[in-house]
């Protein structure tokens, strides 16, 4: 009886229909346990980053300099113990603290690079998709050229030209990712641009810029966001990879890839220096991949039943 009531109660039906697309996506996302797990890990990582920033500001970097940078050769390559749960690195620095502080650079560069790629790439894609014809041809042929150079190699060439530093690594990865997001934005705009509301906006006298960025972009955003979140994992790996090759974050800053470079020399005497930064990387990348998968399933209309 109760069941029948909820099914035929018009109030309940109304409520279901009133749910916005965003609320629907949130509901769908919540049902995906793996994606929620990913999100929780991401929030924890974010909390770690904020905590390290706060500690650095409050202690005026003295904690950072004392524990993360300062060397103590008596503890060189010390094995994990109660005092240093992950052991110490080749300069006797606590590995746990270096990994915790490394979170900031390892993750933020990767994430920031993707966001910059989208911010620069997406407008090109939107303009190409909206105007079509010659504009589209010129922009997309340029993007083809960018895409024809393998991602990591393009980033390496840019680092070679600019010099090795954290900022240059960020620039290199951002530029290398532009073409991918321009393509996605273009495809997504082409799906949306023939809708009635776009025509309505045009009839009301809206100019191209308003139409593109106020009416089309919000409706074309979902695929871009999905690809953005799915790309973060690869971007984090690229940061670690280039830092590992010595082309990214430089000594003595704490970054997971850079810690692993040093670990390589001592891998036989001290396995722990190789293991822990790698596990930190894997957990972060899996978290972002799960989150991205969940977001795709929640936002992709094809998969909705």
């Amino acid at each position: 009886m109760h069941k029948a009531k909820t099914q035929f109660d018009p109030a309940v039906k109304d409520k279901q229909e009133q749910r916005t697309l965003f609320q629907q996506a949130v509901r769908q996302f919540k049902h995906n346990k793996m994606a929620v797990a990913g999100l929780i890990i991401i929030l924890i990582l974010l909390a770690i980053i904020i905590a390290t920033v706060v500690i650095d500001i409050v202690t005026d970097q003295s904690f950072y300099n004392e524990h993360v940078i300062k060397q103590d050769l008596s503890l060189r390559l010390a094995k994990p113990s109660a005092e240093h749960i992950f052991g110490c690195d080749e300069y006797g620095r606590d590995l746990f603290l270096r990994i915790i502080w490394g979170t900031r650079l390892s993750l933020t560069i990767g994430i920031a690079a993707i966001f910059l790629s989208v911010i620069i790439g997406a407008p090109f894609g939107i303009i190409a998709g909206y105007y079509g014809k010659t504009t589209d041809n010129i922009i997309m042929r340029f993007m083809d050229v960018l895409l024809s150079v393998p991602y990591i190699l393009l980033a390496m060439a840019i680092v070679a030209a600019l010099g090795k530093s954290t900022i240059n690594l960020l620039i290199a990865l951002s530029v290398s990712g532009i073409a991918k997001y321009a393509r996605i934005a273009r495809a997504s705009v082409m799906v949306v641009k023939d809708n009635e509301y776009v025509e309505a906006a045009r009839a009301m006298g809206a100019n191209d810029f308003t139409i593109m960025f106020k009416y089309i972009l919000p409706n074309a955003l979902a695929p871009i966001l999905v690809q953005l979140s799915l790309g973060i994992g690869d971007s984090i790996l690229a940061v670690a990879g280039l830092s590992f090759l010595g082309l990214g974050v430089q000594y003595p800053q704490a970054e997971w890839g850079a810690i692993l470079t040093a670990a390589r020399t001592y891998m036989l005497q001290a396995w722990h220096v190789s293991i822990f930064p790698g596990i930190a990387l894997i957990i972060s990348v899996i978290a972002f991949n799960l989150f991205g998968d969940g977001l795709r399933d929640a936002l992709d209309p094809k998969l909705k039943r």
């Binding site: 960018l146 150079v149 990591i152 190699l153 060439a157 070679a160 990879g241 891998m267 790698g278 991949n289």
Partner: protein, 327 residues
């Protein structure tokens, strides 16, 4: 078919020219003093000036690009600033090693990835499927270089089964030295292929023609390998082709870790020495390789997808009809 292939090749040429221009422009801004690198710090100003003139460093940008391209089409990529050796010859000597490693990695990934993906799809939601999905999720998240370190620690340093680095001479030592780099390079790629194969087979598996084939009494083996896989293959080929670029990127890391004498390691070494010509030559070479693989993927599409083939066939028929009408 031939028209399609020719069209693809013609489309690739401007992209390649654009790519060389892009990489040349980026590296043009590298702050380096090649003449001093070649002649050493004791060289006189006049000698350096003369060397700069010889190298064409003082020429304007477009003249330098034009000269570079003129050399490139003749297979000349200039001289290394580090040791004055010919960049083309160095790369020619190393490209084979990169190709051996890249093909081994790709082969490993395909041989493991496709069957695992099919098995996972056919036995959807079984224990095998869940285990595969978990392992592939893990493998796509593992950093290549970390994975390599762990493999080296276990199989080379602890168990002494395989060499930790270098490239063996002779067939057996070569294969032995190839095992760890291949696994390093191919695992993530295999995971990606397995995941794509699974979802692609799952899409095909519920189609009516699969039921028809089964109802006809075709053996399950034939159903899977002939009816399912052939139709599920296009997304798989796309993933294999598109990710060949990241395979080449991965080979840069793999070659560096295993001291594999390939082009990837040459790039990394050359960047440290600010050897711009060598960096430029290597990146251009690997970009050409990437473009050729993408071209091959486009051609394979046409071979496995009759729709693409017929598109071109129809066009010709239409043209034929038009010309007949005109007559």
């Amino acid at each position: 078919m031939a028209r399609y292939i020719i069209k693809r090749i013609l489309l690739a040429i401007p992209v390649l020219i654009g790519a060389t221009f892009l990489v040349f422009t980026i590296l043009f801004f590298t702050p380096s003093d090649p003449a001093r690198m070649i002649l050493g710090s004791s060289a006189t100003e006049e000698a350096i000036e003369a060397m700069n003139e010889e190298l064409g460093i003082n020429d304007p940008f477009f003249v330098r690009y034009f000269n570079y391209m003129k050399g490139l089409v003749q297979g000349d990529m200039g001289r290394s600033y580090r040791n004055n050796s010919s960049v083309s010859e160095t790369i020619a000597g190393r490209l084979g090693n990169t190709l051996i490693l890249a093909s081994a990695g790709m082969l490993f990934a395909i041989i493991i990835g496709i069957p695992v993906g099919i098995l996972s799809a056919v036995k959807q939601y079984s224990k095998i499927d869940n285990a595969t999905m978990f392992i592939t999720l893990f493998l796509t998240a593992v950093p290549t270089f970390w994975y390599a370190l762990i493999l080296v620690i276990i199989f080379a340093l602890k168990l002494h089964w395989l060499p930790a680095s270098g490239m063996g001479v002779g067939l057996v030592p070569l294969l032995k030295s190839l095992i760890l780099p291949t696994i390093t390079l191919g695992s993530g790629y295999a995971a990606m292929i397995a995941r794509t194969t699974r979802s692609s087979v799952l899409e095909v598996i519920r189609q009516d023609y699969i039921d028809t084939a089964r109802a006809k009494g075709v053996s399950e083996k034939t159903v899977i390998w002939k009816h399912m896989l052939k139709n599920a293959l296009i997304p798989i080929v796309t993933v294999v082709g598109l990710n060949f670029g990241s395979l080449l990127g991965g080979s840069v890391l793999t070659e560096t870790i295993f001291s594999w004498p390939g082009v990837g390691r040459y790039v990394v070494d050359s960047i440290s020495y600010r050897d711009t010509n060598a960096v430029l030559g290597s990146v251009v070479t690997l970009t050409i390789l990437f473009t050729i693989v993408n071209l091959a993927v486009d051609i394979i599409y046409a071979l496995i997808d009759p729709r693409i083939k017929s598109q071109y066939a129809v066009k010709r028929r239409k043209k034929h009809a038009q010309s007949e009408n005109a007559v």
